[in-house]
Symmetry: C2
Subunit: 219 residues, 2 copies
């Protein structure tokens, strides 16, 4: 399963500016009609509920059609096949997170101190990972592209900005990468599935990590 | 290219005890004759020099034979094919690191304060990664096995022990995973190749990360 996002120019330096995700739907279908867009959103919401209830294995074209009360043909026309549906689902959730980071309410969005925003960021990414773990693992690019992959660069760019605000004298891109490593879906998989750790422990570990790295105490 | 190490039982918790690597050569060939063992070591040393000088692409069966002044047939008999040679090379370097951590001189080996040992550990792993980057990336297991892979578990177990000694009240396995994330070969590849950062900057970043995480100053 390969990712659906377009290739991105190689950075010379870890980006300080968040890389805006290009929306697959928008890029492919600039003139998506309003009712088609509503239909697509409804299908993705149904698929999101199915993932939350049954994991990625529960997301079939048939199940999504039934959950959204539409015909199966509609789902096939919209997404092509199950891989297309799953990639659209990952894009959808990445875009929701991006919108929340850029313009949502604080502390995830702008307006809170950087330490609090970092805390909220990690908790949001961990929750999203736990919900979409199988999809994220399946969509993970090969090792040489894992960190230059645009969605990853958007998130690490966001963390770099917050780290720089919190500790202006640090090597922000490197501390940001250390933070991002803790949120790697493969690690979340290992800790929750192989080691049986609850999400709450990973969240506490994230808060502790942020507090130590930026030498502060979170509220 | 798949790794040559045997499967390992699933941990229920990130291990606190380092997992000893099983030596591929020892496991396959318990009665390797002394001259054959010397021969093997000589070939691996020749291959290591070739990697340092020309990268993994420079390691061919022919080049290793020439560098060790033996016939090409000897190299084929010893390692089977190029993949076998490359995996033996990775094992060899992992075993050298393990020996240095368990019984080498401080600060990498026992006898130095845990903070200094962590500092030396990261610098050693980063140097090894830069030398063997292509091999390590090619040998990296799929995401769901990346963190339970025995060589990875040995290293994260070692770091967990040192973190626990340095900060007894912390969630040591989670802080250890945060540290290990910084040493991920895929990240080292991104930072050195895509972003053009020198190894020295990554080493400074490691020292800074250790100092912040265990709230101390390295000498």
């Amino acid at each position: 399963m390969s990712a659906s996002l377009p290739p991105f120019p190689k950075p010379q330096e870890p980006t300080d500016e968040p890389v805006l995700l290009e929306l697959s739907a928008g890029a492919d279908e600039p003139c998506l009609r309003a009712d088609a867009a509503r239909n697509r959103a409804r299908l993705l919401e149904a698929a999101t509920r199915l993932v939350a209830e049954h994991g990625a294995a529960g997301v079939t074209m048939e199940a999504v059609a039934a959950a959204a009360s539409v015909g199966k043909g509609t789902v096939f026309r919209r997404f092509g096949d199950r891989t297309g549906l799953l990639m659209a689902l990952l894009d959808h959730s990445a875009q929701q997170l991006q919108a929340a980071l850029l313009s949502g309410p604080p502390p995830l969005g702008p307006g809170a101190p950087p330490a609090e925003r970092l805390g909220a960021f990690g908790r949001a990414v961990l929750r999203q990972s736990v919900d979409h773990l199988e999809l994220q693992l399946a969509a993970q690019p090969e090792p040489t592209r894992r960190h230059s992959f645009p969605p990853q660069r958007f998130l690490s760019g966001h963390v770099t900005l917050l780290v720089r605000q919190a500790v202006p004298d640090a090597d922000a891109p490197l501390l940001a990468q250390a933070l991002m490593g803790y949120l790697d879906p493969a690690l979340v998989h290992y800790l929750t599935k192989d080691c049986g750790m609850p999400l709450e422990r990973l969240e506490s570990g994230w808060n502790d990590l942020v507090e130590r790295l930026i030498r502060t105490e979170l509220p």
